[in-house]
């Protein structure tokens, strides 16, 4: 087992730099999720770690070995691909054994490992089938099995759940999590789905435009988002943002409402309010006219403009609310739940 260190990794295609000085220390046995919108460079980063993509500058360490110059096969990694990349002409057993066979492992040992992995993944009865005879979820398991039998130092996952339907995705997500904890193998998982990221990762690396926006635990990302991007990306429904003017421990919203804050600032800021943090308060500073209601059962989402502006906002109330369209309601929230960001740099203040 081994940790992974990324030291100032940079990737350029010709003159275009797509990843900028990515640095991270990943602990042994840790599950790290790289998350970001499509085109942010997350898959490229993963493929650089795998050795499938050349490194323009910087270094990748697996354990304490610098692996920049090593072939993918020599990095002691296993990878699960988005489309699984199972060899269609081989049976499940042959698929799982292929890498071991190339490494000239004794046949008995190969059989033992394949059997063991198949039992862990509950695919033992499918070992002699071809991939096309399997369902999406089963193929996903085979792809996992192919990674497990190698007993690698690192698992790399490249959006492996995005080809599954919603229900199966949730189920496989939990299984991957359990499996990783059980095997204790350092894992890096790439996804664009923030819920997947939050539930899977010990730590999340939020990537945007080739930069690391923030690298931290799910709770840190939620409670102390380092930038407007992270704040908007993590959490559902997304945070409400307003341009505001700060004056010490309060900010003034565009409609003149004054909201107390815990962060101290002065001048132009961006103020972020999570929909689920706003609570009904007849004397609260934030007023909204309800234009649209979404009843989701567990919560009710209220859509409408901040009073006196045309800026839309969302508020999430627990349970089934009796609120009606057209109601004008007031809300407040504790000062420590108001997020302030620098209006110029988009970074968190304080």
């Amino acid at each position: 087992m081994a940790g992974i260190t990324l030291d100032s990794l940079t990737k350029s295609y010709g003159p275009t730099e797509v990843l900028h000085h990515i640095g991270a220390d990943i602990e042994d046995g840790e599950f790290v999720v790289i998350v970001g919108p499509s085109g942010c460079g997350k898959s490229t980063l993963l493929r650089m770690i795998a050795g499938l993509e050349s490194i323009t500058s910087g270094e990748v360490f697996i354990g304490d070995k610098m692996v920049n110059g090593l072939e993918p096969a020599d990095r002691d990694i296993a990878m699960v691909f988005q489309n699984y990349a199972l060899y269609p002409h081989m049976t499940v057993r042959q698929n799982m054994a292929y890498g071991l066979k190339i490494r000239k492992m004794p046949k008995a040992e190969i059989d033992r490992r394949v059997q063991e992995a198949a039992e862990i993944l509950e695919i033992a009865q499918y070992l002699d089938r071809k991939p096309r005879q399997l369902s999406g979820g089963q193929r996903q398991r085979v792809a996992m099995g192919r990674a497990i039998v190698r007993d690698p130092q690192v698992f790399l996952f490249d959006e492996p759940l995005s080809n599954l339907d919603a229900k199966l995705r949730v189920q496989m997500r939990l299984e991957i999590r359990k499996l990783q904890k059980r095997l204790g193998v350092t894992s890096i998982f790439v996804t664009h789905d923030q819920v997947e990221a939050m539930t899977l990762g010990d730590r999340l690396m939020v990537l945007n435009g080739g930069y690391v926006e923030q690298f931290g635990t799910p709770i840190e990302l939620y409670e102390r988002p380092a930038s407007v991007f992270v704040a908007g990306f993590i959490g559902s429904p997304a945070m409400n943002f307003f341009r505001a003017t700060a004056d010490g421990l309060s900010v003034t919203l565009p409609n003149g409402a004054v909201v107390p804050t815990a962060q101290s600032a002065r001048g132009g800021v961006i103020c972020g309010l999570r929909p689920e943090h706003l609570v009904r308060d007849p004397s609260g500073p934030i007023e909204m006219e309800v234009e649209l209601l979404e009843h989701l059962g567990g919560v009710t989402l209220l859509h409408g403009p901040l009073q006196g502006t045309d800026q839309q906002m969302v508020i999430s109330l627990e349970g089934i609310s009796e609120v009606q369209i057209g109601d004008r309601l007031r809300f407040s929230l504790p000062p420590e739940l108001v997020h302030l960001f620098d209006a110029q740099t988009d970074r968190r203040i304080g």
Binding site: R47, A73, Y98
Partner: protein
């Protein structure tokens, strides 16, 4: 079909059967010709129904001295020459096209595009337009009257290379990445993944190229002067010339039949692959 008009369907079948009859007529007449005695073939009108000499003629054609008045090799030997030539051409074309398509698709190396265009140019140079100079090359290399001379100049193939290139491009990149993580080198990847995934394309191409090879005429006509090297397709022409002196149409037609049967058998037995091969190589 869209409307229910039984008469129209019957008409369709009649037209199609008529079409089949017209297409089959020459071969029927050949078959009939191959089943009578030589003398019967000299009286007009020639028969339209098969006679009883088919197996006699077959034996005489295959193992007999062939046609009187010619010095052709026995027909079984020519069949063997044709078989060797067709197989060498088909397998050779497939082998070298697989290798070069693999190099062009899976490697990035200096002059890659140069090689690609050089292969492309062969498409523009069918043997018919460079007969004489190619013949001279073969003569200079001492390859006249040899299987190599017969086949090697025909096995460079732009169409096969293009087809395989197309096939390889449809193999997902993840196959290669996965194989690289599994530790497979280029040739291992080629044998274990690329070849098995191209199996049906290879088979389809084989059907087309076997027929192409078997039916070669102009090239073997020039390259083989030795009767031992003659292919069955070429021998027909010699027999036709001899027929003007000593007409043995039964033997000639039997030989023609024997020359047709292998490729026709391949087409019918492997119809699906044949259709696939034909439509793919002409893309």
């Amino acid at each position: 079909m869209v409307e229910n008009r039984p008469l129209l369907s019957i008409l369709a079948h009649i037209v199609l059967l008529l079409g089949v009859a017209i297409v089959a007529l020459p071969v029927w007449i050949t078959f009939v010709g191959a089943s009578h005695e030589a003398e019967r073939m000299l009286q007009t009108p020639i028969p339209m129904l098969p006679g009883d000499q088919f197996f006699v003629n077959l034996r005489q054609t295959l193992w007999g001295s062939g046609l009187e008045g010619t010095n052709t090799a026995p027909v079984w030997m020519m069949l063997m020459n044709s078989m060797v030539m067709a197989l060498m051409i088909a397998i050779g074309k497939i082998a070298i096209s697989l290798l070069s398509a693999f190099a062009i698709v899976y490697f990035k190396f200096p002059f890659r595009m140069g090689f690609f265009w050089m292969i492309f140019i062969t498409l523009m140079l069918p043997v018919e337009v460079r007969i004489l100079p190619t013949f001279e090359v073969i003569a200079d290399l001492g390859m006249l009257n040899s299987y190599w001379g017969l086949t090697v100049p025909l096995i460079a193939s732009a169409t096969a290379t293009f087809m395989f290139r197309q096939v390889f491009l449809t193999i997902p990149d993840e196959m290669l990445e996965s194989a690289r993580i599994d530790g497979a080198g280029p040739m291992r990847f080629f044998w274990d993944i690329v070849i098995p995934l191209s199996r049906t394309n290879i088979a389809a191409l084989f059907v087309i190229l076997f027929i192409y090879g078997w039916n070669q005429y102009l090239w073997p006509l020039l390259i083989t002067t030795d009767t031992d090297m003659m292919t069955i397709v070429v021998s027909i022409k010699q027999m036709l010339e001899a027929a003007e002196q000593s007409p043995q149409w039964n033997i000639i037609m039997m030989t023609a039949l024997l020359a047709m049967i292998p490729p026709i058998f391949v087409v019918i037995a492997m119809q699906k692959l044949f259709v696939q091969g034909l439509t793919e190589t002409d893309k």
